[in-house]
């Protein structure tokens, strides 16, 4: 044990990069990344549910605009979407006089808007696929019980669609975590932003970026295991009975 502590002490003494201050930068970056990803995922999820219902509608004037929205947002790079919102928000007439302006002037909110719209588009398509895959028998059973369309959606289709969408949605969450790295491009000090700052300050690319890569890897695994656990719980009824 003594050997280990001396070894660790020597290791820390020989390194100028991982000081309390730089660890503090990484911590602030982790907080920003988490806030950004969590908020955009939650808002995106709330938006995606009605959009997915509309996207599965038979009325084309409802489903077509939603299709165009998801096609555009899934077909173009998130970086472009971020630039359009970050540089373009100034051009909405009168926005500088509203109470929103102090918020929108900072990079955080344009990034949040871009990420939210992006994840909402992907999530809409994931949910639409899950809604479409509802077994016919379930719908027929709901009809036979005399359920209205909205009751059937609420009690039958959505609960089973959410479960089917879970694995794909887990991938989307990981995708969003990784995509959030581009927030550093618009001057935001997220995890990647902190790594870039420390790289520039100490000219130490390996330390700066390998450390942040390890943090992302841990976060990815945490999300992965969380969704596995959730799937196990929520899809327990689909497991073969022993």
């Amino acid at each position: 044990m003594d050997v280990l502590t001396t070894w660790f002490h020597d290791l820390m003494a020989g390194n100028a990069i991982f000081t309390a201050q730089t660890i503090g930068y990484y911590w602030d970056g982790l907080v920003t990344t988490t806030q950004l990803v969590f908020l955009s995922l939650v808002i995106g999820l709330v938006l995606a549910v009605p959009l997915a219902i509309g996207r599965s509608s038979d009325r084309r004037w409802i489903s077509l605009p939603i299709y165009v929205y998801t096609y555009v947002f899934r077909g173009t790079p998130l970086l472009i979407q971020l630039y359009i919102i970050y540089y373009g928000v100034v051009f909405f007439d009168g926005i500088q006089e509203t109470f929103l302006w102090p918020m929108l002037r900072e990079a955080f909110y344009p990034a949040l808007i871009a990420f939210t719209l992006n994840t909402a588009a992907y999530t809409t398509e994931i949910f639409r696929g899950a809604i479409k895959a509802t077994a016919r028998g379930e719908i027929e059973a709901a009809r036979a019980y005399g359920m209205s369309d909205s009751l059937m959606m609420r009690r039958i289709i959505l609960p089973s669609a959410f479960r089917r969408a879970l694995p794909a949605y887990g991938n989307e969450v990981i995708f969003m975590l990784h995509a959030s790295a581009i927030a550093s491009v618009v001057t935001l000090m997220d995890l990647t932003g902190a790594a870039r700052f420390i790289y520039a300050r100490y000219y130490a690319p390996f330390e700066a970026f390998l450390f942040v890569a390890a943090i992302y890897l841990c976060l990815t695994f945490a999300i992965l295991y969380f969704f596995r656990w959730l799937e196990k719980r929520l899809l327990a009824h689909l497991r073969p009975q022993s």
Binding site: L79, A181, T192, F221
Partner: protein, 233 residues
């Protein structure tokens, strides 16, 4: 109209960079993917572990972080090597890792991991009887690969390759961050200079949609070709 305050030609050049970058990275990714899939299915314990480590780590870290690590760190590592060569052997050899090469290597390296998973699934979907039949005809392993495993594997792999390509195409936008003048970087520069972001960013977004639509159509055609003899789908 295409002049765009004089940025039109540079934007077109940028679009060319984006396309070249995407196609070259795809080629590298396919090669790496085939190698990874073969390694994961091989009997060698070390090869299997290495391939698994590669696919797991790459898919767990953001593209942008990997790109910066390779671009900034790669140059440093190269400098260390060339300096050592100079000190020890007097070889005056300097390699400058340019942004384009770094972009192709990083994107190819990242998507090689995804392709590896796609190809592994596709190789396993090829009927073992087909391979046995090839061996029974006295074909060498390479001939079995070329004539039997590869063409039949592609049928299963194409939807996955198509998916990976669409994601790869969008990932190329990230090279603008490490200083490569692809169409995103030109558009961002022009937006800042002229204060007209929509004039430049919207056409670039449309260009991405166009490339995506054309490649979707191409993949549908390829899919049809590789499915000949399998009745429709």
């Amino acid at each position: 109209m295409l002049d765009l305050h004089g940025y039109g030609p540079r934007l077109l050049e940028g679009a060319g960079v984006t396309l070249q970058l995407a196609v070259l990275s795809l080629a590298l990714a396919i090669l790496l993917g085939l190698a990874t899939a073969s390694a994961r299915m091989s009997r060698g314990w070390l090869l299997q572990r290495l391939a698994t480590l590669y696919t797991t780590v790459i898919r767990g870290v953001p593209d942008l972080v990997l790109m910066m690590l390779l671009f900034f760190g790669g140059q440093m590592a190269l400098n260390v090597i060339t300096d050592a060569l100079y000190d020890r052997f007097g070889v005056d050899w300097y390699v400058n890792l340019n942004a384009f090469a770094a972009g192709v290597i990083t994107i190819g390296f990242i998507f090689g991991a995804y392709m590896g998973e796609t190809f592994r699934g596709a190789f396993m979907a090829v009927d073992a009887g087909q391979i046995e039949a090839g061996k029974a005809y006295g074909m060498s392993p390479w001939l079995v690969f070329r004539r039997i495993r590869f063409p039949q594997m592609m049928r299963h792999a194409l939807p996955g390759i198509s998916n990976n390509w669409m994601v790869l195409l969008k990932t190329t936008a990230l090279v603008s961050v490490i200083g490569l003048s692809d169409m995103v970087r030109v558009a961002a520069e022009a937006s800042r200079a002229t204060h007209e972001p929509f004039t430049f960013l919207l056409p670039v977004a449309a260009a991405y949609l166009l490339i995506a639509s054309v490649s979707e159509w191409l993949f549908a055609w390829l899919q049809k070709r590789y499915n000949i003899g399998f009745g429709g789908h």
